[in-house]
Assembly symmetry: C2
Homo-oligomer: 208 residues x 2
Amino acid sequence: MSEQYEVHPHTKVVRGHNRASYDPGQIHGIIDDALICHVGTVIDGRPVMIPTAHWRVGERIYIHGASKNRILAAIADGAEACLCITLLDGLVMARSAFHHSANYRSVIIYGKGTLVADDAGKMEHSRLFTEKLEPGRWEQIRHPNKQELKATMFLGFDLNEVSAKVRSGDPVDDEEDYDLDVWAGVLPCATVWGAPIDDTRLKPGIVR
Amino acid sequence: MSEQYEVHPHTKVVRGHNRASYDPGQIHGIIDDALICHVGTVIDGRPVMIPTAHWRVGERIYIHGASKNRILAAIADGAEACLCITLLDGLVMARSAFHHSANYRSVIIYGKGTLVADDAGKMEHSRLFTEKLEPGRWEQIRHPNKQELKATMFLGFDLNEVSAKVRSGDPVDDEEDYDLDVWAGVLPCATVWGAPIDDTRLKPGIVR
């Protein structure tokens, strides 16, 4: 898919529109680089939100959780959702307080969710979720049984009303501030993985 | 403050209640460890969300943004908000797909926002924001002028309807799965800071 996502009233980036992107390749990359998203909806007129894991299949993003989770259940019942993914890449240290900022990659998705209703679909999404955590994992672990599939809800959201906002690079200061005697630049950050920690009940002889 | 936060209907953790915390010290720690939060509200009946920086002063959390930002403006006009902070600490690799999980620390705050209306308050919160990014920064940089203060909205939210959810440690598998020949444990992750990157327009002679 090489075309841009259509700009909807909800996904038109108004503030900082020069940072907006509707490019599928870039948006897919942000979604795939992130392990968690924040999912919001409206229950009884009030905003509610949960952080949760997500994964992507083509032009759809998926989440899962307990079937009894009230936020997921509301979305399954037709409540509109909003999913936000944010990757912080650094702090932008400008010469003025006002121009301090962050380098980041974020994606916003609006829409209704579609329930994965059948066990075969749930099983496939269990596989996709664990394979995102670690490729090859699915072949090693015990797969969900009927009771576990029943206890888990899977929801998919089309990448239709979707936009990204990305900032990278140097601070942008007012021209007259560049002469100030203050360090300016970026403090870069990233998610880094440490050495795996064995389960204290790991079966003897099992190594990673 | 040593007492627990009161449990409100909205902040009662239903799913995974054994991971719930209403402890001010723990909740303050999660808020302070995180640089960004996700802020949700309801506009025209639909959920909307933005990622943004935050900081804390005692029993209140603050955010800021462009005065014209429609989400912040809606909250300033009285729309209820929901703030979520999530720190991912690791992936929990269980012996079954079902028990795969994450180690994390998250906080949810519900409530209406209070506008910081006066310039002195805005100036003080500009200081608090930049000092959170880097202690000592405020003394080095140009402070906001009147026009910049006008262009920036600051909102505070009481830590009243607030709860945390925390998971740490080993996977928890079904008893019969502990005998499976599969590695289980935690893949720990953390936000790590890299070497500062000088602005390409850094004034000669300025070192960090």
